[in-house]
């Protein structure tokens, strides 16, 4: 087949028919259920936990059952598998209660008595060093040397966001001989392997992790399954039977990781209508454990200048330790927060300077060959001017449709990047991806990678790359859900890296296999990741090429605001995307539509508040996400710009489609109301305040 062939998604049928087996659907002999005993206070010492008598078929698994280390190893290992002496957030796991009868487990749990000695919790980002996890900083030029500039400082605030994958978090652990086996909904099977190696002290051969059909993840199943896997593994080892831990929806919303709330201050220095410098401070709330937060912060600050060349720059970021919920990965990974602040700021500056917001952006666009904010060089072709031109052409800009039939009409633009793959030299230094292709004697080609299909289309995209590279029919490709006993570690399914990085390795492997395609016997080809020589990175100084390559999006949102009720309708969202070469246009459109909807929710309606450390919006009826009725007309065009390192020229796509949507909509609302907006979501309640104040 050819890469340009139009295909059906490989996994569509089983998912639409309902035959796909999610973790909750799979039968395990002798399955036990587990429910989590959680802290009810935000911070304190556990004085005692008293479990009821008279439940012979119930087993409690807690910190006393830990084997090698009571730690969930992510990047650091600061989180316990079970709280032992202290709790640090409401909902922190203290124990699993395991049994075969759910009603009995509920009855047992009602009788558990936990006595705490409360300590003073911290719910805000506090600059006392004891409450700071990490600080990161980089600079460019000499901000202090700037003279005669107009200084404009503004504060921006972004909220929690819940991933709201359709399938809730779920893991089953069992013991098979000497091996601990984990099955479940996840993005990163080898993260789970590594967490288990650390927790159990087992060698890798005695650990097997199998991803089951995953109904959405969006980052929410990047780090969290490691926690559940460690807990259930201890339970399975203790009782010698399979243990299932599947969260209820409210439990999942309330206690698993969210997008980090962020507080961003942008101070701009303009002279003669041009931004000469920016000073930026990004603060994110990690919750009580570091987890992935330092990495999220790095992407947030490294994305902070967006698509613009700012000569003088001071960027600082801080990760705060609080007793709020533990935050983690979510599509965009720090980017949505930064880009909301930056793009809103750019539109505000344009307005202050009396300039057209798109023209103002064009005057600051970065170009190929220039230095990035971290002093690396933009090696790839960048066509932002052309994207801007295409955006104007498709939207009729600047002759925009302002007829709102009684409603206020506004337009907002955003031009945003997303760096593909892990930050800096992460792909080469930390992930070191390995992929394999195996041709069996029946002439089927097996894709052996640890990257998962989670709804995004990896199954089809990677299969298509291999089939096209080999010029064989798609039906000859076998890509099963990863089983770490079979597949090498090609890294996590994250950072929009699957098509771009893993896809390229598979492409290389396929080219090698091509010569052996006619042979009868089994052939295995292994491919290792190698960073392009022209990229350099200094992780300590945050200097060099922060990303392998950049994808770009230029967006324009049209909104209508009801002047009485302040209800916002986004009627149209125009987007031009440079994702290199689209591997599959239909799937990419799916990514765009999904990204727009998730970004629209983030910008317009998904409000989640935490009160004294407890998430208040914990259900579908209070945490509102968009439905089809809220979705605008989505107009999409591609800027074709093949990336030399990508498979068939493809770059990162998944996260790019989300990151610019909220600022485009928020600035459109600001335009409609002729007011400044510095916070999302743009709820009618907030707009009422903005207008009447």
């Amino acid at each position: 087949m050819k890469i340009t062939d139009v295909v059906h998604r490989v996994d569509t049928q089983e998912k639409i028919k309902g035959t796909a087996q999610y973790i909750e659907d799979i039968h395990f002999e002798g399955l036990h259920y587990a429910r989590t005993l959680r802290s009810t206070i935000a911070r304190g010492r556990i004085l005692s936990v008293t479990y009821p008598e008279g439940y012979p078929s119930i087993t409690v698994v807690d910190a006393r059952d830990s084997i090698a280390r009571n730690e969930v190893s992510m990047i650091t290992a600061d989180m316990p598998i079970f709280a032992r002496d202290e709790v640090h957030y409401i909902g922190e796991p203290i124990a699993l209660v395991v049994g075969r009868d759910k009603d009995e487990i509920i009855a047992f749990m009602k009788e558990i008595d936990v006595v705490y000695e409360p300590m003073t919790p911290l719910f805000t980002c506090d600059d006392n060093e004891a409450n700071v996890f990490t600080r990161r900083h980089y600079s460019k030029g000499d901000l202090a040397s700037l003279e005669g500039c107009e200084v404009f400082e503004a504060h921006y605030k972004t909220p929690y966001q819940e991933q709201l994958y359709m399938e809730k978090q779920g893991i089953v652990a069992l013991v098979a001989g000497e091996t601990v086996e984990i099955y479940g909904s996840m993005q990163c099977p080898y993260y789970v392997v590594n967490a288990l190696k650390n927790a159990l002290g087992y060698p890798e051969e005695k650990i097997r992790v199998v991803q089951t059909v995953t109904g959405g993840a969006f980052g929410g199943k990047e780090d969290y399954p490691s926690i559940m896997a460690c807990q259930t593994a201890l339970a399975a080892l203790k009782i010698g039977a399979p243990v299932q831990l599947v969260y209820d929806r409210r439990e999942d919303i309330q206690f698993t990781t969210k997008r980090h709330p962020a507080f961003i201050t942008v101070t701009s220095y303009t002279r003669e209508g041009h931004v000469e410098g920016m000073k930026i401070a990004v603060k994110i709330d990690a919750g009580p454990y570091l987890g992935l937060s330092d990495v999220v912060l790095q992407r947030a600050i490294l994305t902070m200048t967006g698509a613009y060349q700012i000569p003088h720059l001071e960027v600082a970021g801080t990760v705060y330790k609080t007793n709020n919920i533990f935050n983690g990965a979510f599509r965009g990974f720090g980017g949505p927060q930064s880009l909301f602040a930056l793009e809103t700021h750019m539109s505000r500056l344009a307005k202050r300077l009396g300039k057209d917001p798109l023209t103002f952006r064009e005057e600051h666009f970065v170009h190929q060959g220039e230095l990035t904010s971290t002093g690396g060089r933009f090696h790839e072709a960048i066509h932002l001017e052309e994207m801007s031109r295409m955006l104007k052409e498709m939207s009729g800009y600047p002759e925009l449709d302002t007829e709102g039939h009684g409603r206020l009409v506004g337009h907002g633009v955003a031009v945003v990047p997303h760096g593909g793959g892990f930050t800096g030299d992460g792909e080469a230094e930390h992930i070191k991806a390995v992929v394999k292709l195996r041709k069996d004697t029946e002439q089927f080609i097996h894709i052996l990678v640890s990257n998962v299909e989670m709804g995004q289309g990896a199954l089809t995209a990677l299969s298509k790359i291999v089939a096209s590279a080999l010029d064989v029919p798609l039906e000859r490709i076998v890509y099963n859900n990863p089983d770490t006993r079979v597949v090498p570690d090609s890294g996590p399914t994250a950072a929009s890296r699957t098509t771009m990085v893993v896809g390229r390795l598979l492409y290389n492997a396929a080219l090698k296999m091509k010569e052996a395609l006619q042979e009868q016997e089994e052939v295995v080809v292994t491919e290792h990741y190698r960073q392009p020589d022209y990229l350099e990175w200094d992780q300590e100084q945050l200097k060099g090429n922060a990303y392998l390559s950049y994808s770009w999006a230029a967006l324009l949102a049209r909104v209508e605001v009801d002047p009485v009720t302040y209800e916002v309708t986004c009627t149209d969202l125009y987007g031009v995307y440079d994702v290199g070469m689209p591997i599959d246009e239909k799937m990419l459109l799916g990514q765009v539509h999904g990204g727009v909807v998730q970004g629209l929710g983030y910008g317009m309606m998904e409000y989640m508040d935490s009160k004294d450390g407890l998430i208040q919006h914990n259900s579908f009826s209070s945490y509102a996400v968009p439905t089809t009725m809220d979705i605008p007309q989505i107009h999409t065009r591609w800027l074709i710009n093949p990336y030399i390192e990508g498979p068939f020229g493809a770059k990162a796509a998944g996260e790019l489609t989300l990151v610019g949507v909220a600022p485009a909509i928020a600035t459109a609302v600001a335009d409609a109301l002729d007011r400044e907006i510095s916070e999302i979501p743009v709820l009618p309640e907030n707009l009422l305040k903005v207008v009447t104040s």
């Binding site: 259920y33 009826s621 509102a624 009447t692």
Partner: protein
């Protein structure tokens, strides 16, 4: 030990059962099942045995007479939303409730008995001076909505009674306005809702206004409505309305938003009506 659940074959059998023991009446079940939400796979535990009644055809009828719309309590919300013989002002609030799948099973009676502050059928029925028929072995009584709904989730229905019918007087209205505001455009609970019904020939002859989801019960100021009709003094009516609000900040909205926007919506409609 909880006695067994029952599935009476007729209304009569149901009334007899209700007279002898305490049951939770289960019609569409869309609210009850949520209220008894439990760890998925564990039992939804009700304090009382259930009386399943959703199969009772005699309570599903929708009859239109010279003077009334007679709605059986077990008519589904979609039965009303999609019934072209019924007027739009009655159908529209039902059309915007929940989702089609829920409207297909949730009943007219259930939304009244649940008596949630966000029940979207309550304001329109209040505005239309609807009455409900409550039956028991002892006979029947008829209550206004104001009498039926005591407070949020509390009704005046007795343990041996069942709501069988909603009686809506037929009046001629020349126009209506309905607005529901939620956190999104569909499939969502109301932050507030407003229904306004009127008859206008040369002059305005009839005018009813009801507000949902702001107070714990649906709100209608009949006295102030009458004065408004007589005097045309919009400010006085809105002042009375504002004074009767007792909204709160909650997960869905704020007191300030609910009250301000409700007043602004009504003001805009009234100004058009009286111009």
């Amino acid at each position: 030990m909880i006695p067994a659940h029952i599935r009476p074959e007729s209304l009569e059998e149901l009334l007899t059962a209700l007279d002898t023991a305490s049951y939770t009446i289960f019609a569409g079940g869309t609210d009850l099942l949520i209220r008894k939400r439990q760890w998925q796979g564990a039992e939804r535990r009700f304090e009382e045995p259930l009386a399943f009644i959703n199969h009772l055809e005699e309570l599903k009828e929708v009859v239109i007479t010279q003077d009334h719309f007679l709605i059986g309590a077990l008519a589904t919300q979609e039965d009303i939303a999609s019934n072209e013989a019924l007027p739009d002002y009655l159908r529209e609030p039902y059309r915007q409730m929940a989702t089609l799948a829920i409207r297909n099973i949730a009943t007219v009676g259930g939304n009244l008995i649940n008596a949630a502050s966000v029940g979207d059928s309550l304001p329109v029925l209040l505005a239309l001076d609807a009455r409900v028929i409550l039956k028991s072995v002892a006979g029947e009584r008829s209550l206004t909505l104001d009498e039926l709904i005591v407070d949020k989730y509390r009704t005046a229905i007795k343990k041996n009674e069942v709501l069988t019918q909603v009686i809506i007087p037929r009046r001629h209205f020349s126009g209506y306005y309905y607005k529901k505001i939620g956190q999104r455009k569909a499939s969502i609970l109301s932050k507030l809702s407003v229904i306004l019904l009127y008859r206008k020939n040369k002059n305005l002859e009839d005018l009813r206004i009801a507000v949902g989801a702001v107070n714990s019960r649906p709100l209608r100021l009949k006295e102030a409505e009458r004065t408004l009709l007589e005097t045309g003094c919009i400010d006085a009516y809105l002042k009375a309305l504002l004074e009767s609000f007792h909204s709160e900040d909650d997960k869905r909205s704020t007191r300030e938003y609910r009250e301000t926007v409700t007043l602004d919506i009504i003001r805009k409609q009234l100004e058009q009506l009286f111009s």
